[in-house]
Symmetry: C2
Subunit: 486 residues, 2 copies
């Protein structure tokens, strides 16, 4: 079958690796710059690098040359020759130039497409254009590479992706505040005899919300397929206007039958390392650019806030070192005896075992004490979710969190409570309504084996790998309190 | 790094390919049957096939043997030997059996886990258990293989996945009725002075909905990265209780810069064929099972309703034949002159050019007239969305639908209107509010090149490949009017 796109057109990422040739080719892309009426830098989105096309001004009409402006699109036909310029092996000796789409320079000047430095928040306001900039092109290619690496990893390890539901009839998942979904007439909703909103008349015949996690459903699938994972959007209706929180974000949640917590930690560590490794291999040019971007950005910051390592060195460091595995109890000891705790420099001073760890404590452990990724495990049962497996001490559960430098919690996981009676008791104690999660409990009656899993916040991983400091800059159209533009 | 899961345990799909060996192995899985106090059929979800473990009743305690019941979980340690049984090369000669999890036979008897035929709607009511059955194990493995095939295809062709937003501030996408998202107090919502609901006080500061399509945002990304695709959940708040409609379903939407409608059709056809091909290769055993399942099901149906071809033959047929490309105008001629139209057997008799095609017409074209997948293109502008590119006849747009036998529309796509003035006029004419889609329109000012894309309903594809007749049976937890269980 003829497949026009790929027969007609070669992408610039591949052309730049080609040898000079006398075969005429046509390249389509957007103009990033046009110097001296002669040198067009063309980008087609396939790479951060531009292809330089060299035109002979005398051969190309003035009218055409006038339209070769920043952000316009051109098709240049010519021969690939050895480049005399720096930083490129080849360039395109143009025989003809066709204007595919214009871009009015005055209009461009009003936007982030204009060739100068723009602030990240200005770029955010023009999120429909920002992917055309070097920074966002690079970030989004890295994001896509990480995304594929995740599917590839699980595929090779024999996992099946399970598409767990986005709309849920349960609000008991316990991971956070939820968004309500409805098709009822908000102004005149149907009411019950008691004067309450009558959700039995709503689309799904009951109150429904956007999911905060696919874990519970993924567990049911692990009991059938053995090893599954989800990779989908999850939601938090929390009024957190921080650089690390989104109301809508993507999460990866593997769930594995027969895996205990140790195996779960092994899986998480291996998984993170492998997907980063793949991305380093696939995105060398983008990461080089992003590393330099970070260096430039750091120059504007006080010494103490600068990145301790260049971006790629940081990634290699993660690959080469084992994550440090520390029990919650050990961590509390370290924190209690730490200088900032003794000098009461923490906002929340650690007084005793059982305290919930705050971001400041996690950062101390990761960035000051261990200076590497840390896995904390065996947390107090009281500060963790109902579904985590109770240890024999009856005080702690088989939970684990992975903490990353600069990012904080990137993974939260646990071995799940597989014992029917223990789970039922826990649900009763914690007020989890059995009528909503009957199926989750019932599953424990039939061959309920040891199993475990974790959730990894995809955007946090993208932040870590790209070095971007704000989660709004690693997803195409961020959703945060007060913002659902585009 | 030690990676316990995969060091300790080999999956049955791999074991079944192994040669007999004197090395002792341990297999963990669920009991599918236990015959003659001797033969355990073990399944671990990695394949539809069971591993037979043979125990010597005299060596295994009665107490243990009593717990080897359907749906219980066991770890069997032994040697892989040549099998004397039919249908398997190897079996496990057990040295020891450990019960990992029990399953009370009386409780199992009340569920779909009991070893007898259950109706698909009974299985649907126990969706948390159905993946443990042969049919749903096979369907969900095929679904996962198709899902991976899609990512792999786009990766190899140089596409980047773009995660377009699920929550949208726009209700102008035009693909269907939407679900509203809110965190307002439904009983006492804040009101404006005019007595309307004050959405400025809602979480996002405006009215928000669940997306019906990521296309418009994907277009903005194609203008930066060249070739992108989405693969995410989309929503329709339509009261369609059919075997082909879900309120929540997954959609794939590629969008390609520089591609016209012909190239778009090429891409769609190549894409569908390649992902089916990959799945045939990966899921041979599951497809064999599903083919037989369909044969058995067909036996209960009248001749006219049976599948015209066995499942795998149907898939091969799609791979081997070009999709028939037919303009809407040609299709109308064929339909006008068709027997069912002349005899007024259609519910909607085709009278003239401009009529919207109904499912009955599409089925006639695909199943009776052409007897192969059909691509219809160049539809009347009046019956298609505002963003489709107007042809020079000013009557038709560069739209295309791909119709599949037994499934109907599986793909809908178009070349997009890239001309600012034409798009603006179209939006005005069709009442699309510019204040919501200003960014979509503005994009046309800056290097707005020819581009096109399509949407493929993932569940329709899974239905086609698995031969399942109801869309509720190809997604783990279906969402339909009145149903958001689990």
């Amino acid at each position: 079958m003829p497949f026009k796109l790929f027969l007609e057109m070669k992408r610039i990422v591949d052309i730049l690796k080609d040898d000079p040739s006398m075969v005429e080719i046509t390249v389509k892309g957007w103009v990033r710059s046009f110097r001296n009426d002669r040198f067009i830098a063309i980008n087609d989105g396939s790479t951060i690098k531009n292809l330089q096309a060299v035109i002979d001004p005398e051969k190309i009409d003035q009218a055409v040359r006038d339209q070769i402006t920043v952000a316009s699109a051109v098709a240049v036909t010519g021969n690939l020759v050895e480049s005399e310029g720096k930083g490129q092996r080849v360039e395109l000796q143009a025989n003809s130039v066709e204007i595919l789409a214009t871009a009015d320079s005055e209009e461009v000047a009003k936007t982030i497409l204009s060739p100068k430095r723009h602030k990240l928040d200005t770029l955010r306001e023009q999120a429909h254009l920002r992917v055309r900039t070097n920074t966002f092109g690079a970030v989004m290619r890295v994001r896509a590479a990480l995304s594929f690496a995740i599917h590839k990893y699980f595929q090779e390890k024999g996992f099946y992706q399970a598409h767990t539901p986005i709309i849920t009839g349960s609000d008991a998942e316990g991971a956070g505040e939820m968004f309500r979904i409805s098709t009822l007439d908000t102004k005149n909703p149907p009411l019950t005899e008691e004067g309450e909103i009558d959700y039995s008349k709503d689309f799904f015949g009951k109150e429904t919300n956007l999911t905060v996690s696919g874990q519970l459903e993924a567990e049911t699938y692990a009991m059938g397929l053995g090893q599954v994972y989800t990779f989908g959007p999850t939601f938090r209706a929390e009024n957190s206007n921080t650089s690390r929180h989104l109301a809508e974000f993507w999460m990866i949640e593997p769930e594995v039958a027969f895996n205990d917590l140790d195996a779960n930690m092994d899986l998480a560590e291996d998984f993170i390392k492998e997907v980063i490794k793949y991305t380093i291999e696939q995105c060398a040019d983008d990461l080089e650019f992003l590393e330099q971007r970070l260096v430039n950005e750091d120059k504007l910051k006080p010494q103490a806030e600068r990145s301790p390592m260049p971006l790629r060195e940081k990634l290699e460091f993660v690959l080469k070192n084992n994550f440090k595995r520390v029990s919650y109890t050990e961590a509390i000891d370290i924190l209690k005896n730490s200088k900032p705790n003794k000098k009461k420099k923490f906002n929340y001073v650690i007084e005793e075992w059982g305290a919930d760890l705050q971001s400041e404590h996690e950062r101390y452990l990761v960035e000051k004490h261990f200076k590497c990724p840390v896995i904390l495990f065996d947390y107090p049962a009281k500060i963790k979710a109902f579904y985590m497996r109770l240890n024999d001490d009856h005080k702690t559960v088989r939970a684990m969190d992975i903490l990353f430098p600069g990012i904080g919690e990137i993974v939260g996981g646990s071995q799940r409570e597989e014992r029917y009676d223990v789970l039922k008791q826990k649900m009763d104690d914690m007020g989890i309504p059995e009528e909503e999660l009957w199926w989750y409990l019932e599953m424990r009656k039939f061959g309920s084996v040891v199993h475990s899993g974790f959730g990894l916040g995809f955007e946090r991983l993208v932040m870590f790998v790209t070095g971007m400091g704000n989660v709004r800059d690693v997803i195409p159209y961020p959703r945060t309190p007060g913002n659902a533009e585009f």
